[in-house]
Symmetry: C2
Subunit: 284 residues, 2 copies
């Protein structure tokens, strides 16, 4: 009599274990959500978090297996909350990067038309990125800032005079009608995302290494360090500074090194000896 | 009969001309407002603007003589809107820098007490900087984010259960009572401000030069440029990258050079030849 139940239990456990848990900056319909849909071919469990910090630290708490967060936008620059949270939390690694072209759309509920629109809801950055379109197409429009483009889609639900600005996923997720596609003022608008994990990665075909370090505050310290990479003919595709939060003028430096040859290991060995703090975030 | 009127007109024009117009990131009571009160000993006309961009561009439109804006905070890093607006607007110069220690206070209306408080209003950054204090002193408190600490002071006016978090100027300007002083979680909290002008400056006692440049995207370009300063034994007290808004991976670099010797002019001559874009923002 007991056997069938046991078998069912085992089957359920099995299917639960197989589904990867992916934390993302929510709610449903954000650009991070769009990235999840693009990179995972297998069936996954997507878990939305309300802040970047909570998305990333879900890895430490073993609430998720991987986390998808934005790291840099071509117009706004680095996403400082991502960098700062990674500094504060050890044992988190970059598994891969994904670049998403940012396209904004003006959307509304199915029965509304463009001439009905009296209010536009969106995230402040999305609104800033569509400022010219809004100014030249609407007079006396009320702009309402909300915490995400997906939240904007949620907010306009059922409203007759409201539109939102967001990505195409919002249209699908919130069953909206597109009034106008690609309304962003600048077409060079892309965002880089990182897929993070709590397991060290060793990707043999990696093209980039991301490291963070801080130096003693003495003349030429950064120059000396860049010299190490120059000596081994390694290009840095990115350098970014973030405050150490101790005093003005003391920074962490984030760099991306392009892996062209095996010498990067020698460069990293030399780097370690020259800095006061150092961590490899990923090879991907 | 006409003379007295003429004389009065001349007097008025004279007194109008004498008062410098100072644009600042408003409203009244912000940290920028506090900086104005600290640096100007003479009588000035303070003009509040609602965004950093509008504060700075008031100089181009000759609506103000000088503008006071935040440039960097020891916890949050650089104020990207300030850097980006300066890139987009030529003929604006740094006259001086001023560092302000950021101290937050919990304030309310005169008849309220701490046990009445059910809502706390402030700017998201101020709230983040007092998170530990709030969490350990209040249960079930409602947090309301507004666009500035001064706006928070404005909002709680007349409310019986509300407090705001902000600087001491707010207490004076909005006639509030301080419930608790210095509630910031981290005491290394300071913000650097720049006083900007539309007139080129030539300060003989200058200690710093701020420049911005962009390089061709080739290996070692930044290293080569840092080498120029190293050669002349000039220390860079700051390096910051900002996106050029054309594509991911192309940056403007902002650097502060400490003026220790006259060789900085030679270094700048060499720099000019090695970069694709270059501007001196100030010698102060």
């Amino acid at each position: 009599m007991i056997r069938p139940y046991r078998m069912i239990t085992v089957l359920f456990l099995g299917s639960d274990k197989m589904k990867k848990k992916i934390a993302y900056l929510g709610p449903k319909g954000t650009f991070s959500y769009e990235v999840c849909n693009k990179i995972y071919k297998e069936e996954i469990e997507k878990i939305p978090y309300n802040t970047i910090k909570n998305t990333i630290t879900s890895l430490n708490k073993k609430l998720s297996d991987e986390a998808v967060v934005p790291i840099e936008n071509s117009l706004q620059g680095c996403v400082t909350e991502t960098l700062d949270t990674l500094i504060e939390n050890e044992n988190i690694y970059i598994k891969e990067e994904k670049i998403l072209k940012i396209k904004h759309n003006l959307m509304t509920n199915k029965n509304n038309n463009i001439e009905d629109i009296k209010e536009i809801y969106s995230h402040p950055q999305a609104l800033a990125q569509c400022r010219e379109y809004i100014d030249s197409n609407f007079k006396n429009i009320e702009i309402i800032e909300v915490s995400s483009t997906a939240k904007a889609a949620e907010k306009i639900k059922g409203k007759e005079n409201a539109a939102c600005i967001g990505n195409i996923e919002c249209q699908r997720e919130y069953d909206l009608k597109i009034l106008k596609k690609n309304i962003q003022d600048n077409d060079f608008n892309e965002t880089k995302f990182w897929v993070l994990t709590n397991k060290p990665q060793d990707n043999k075909n990696a093209k980039l290494i991301t490291i963070v370090f801080s130096t003693d505050h003495k003349p030429g310290a950064l120059y000396h360090i860049l010299g190490i990479f120059n000596h081994y003919n390694l290009n840095l595709s990115k350098i970014e500074s973030r405050p150490t939060k101790t005093r003005l003028g003391k920074y962490y430096f984030w760099i991306d090194i392009e892996i062209k040859n095996k010498d990067y290991t020698k460069a990293l060995e030399e780097l370690k000896k020259s800095v006061s703090f150092y961590r490899v975030l990923g090879k991907y």
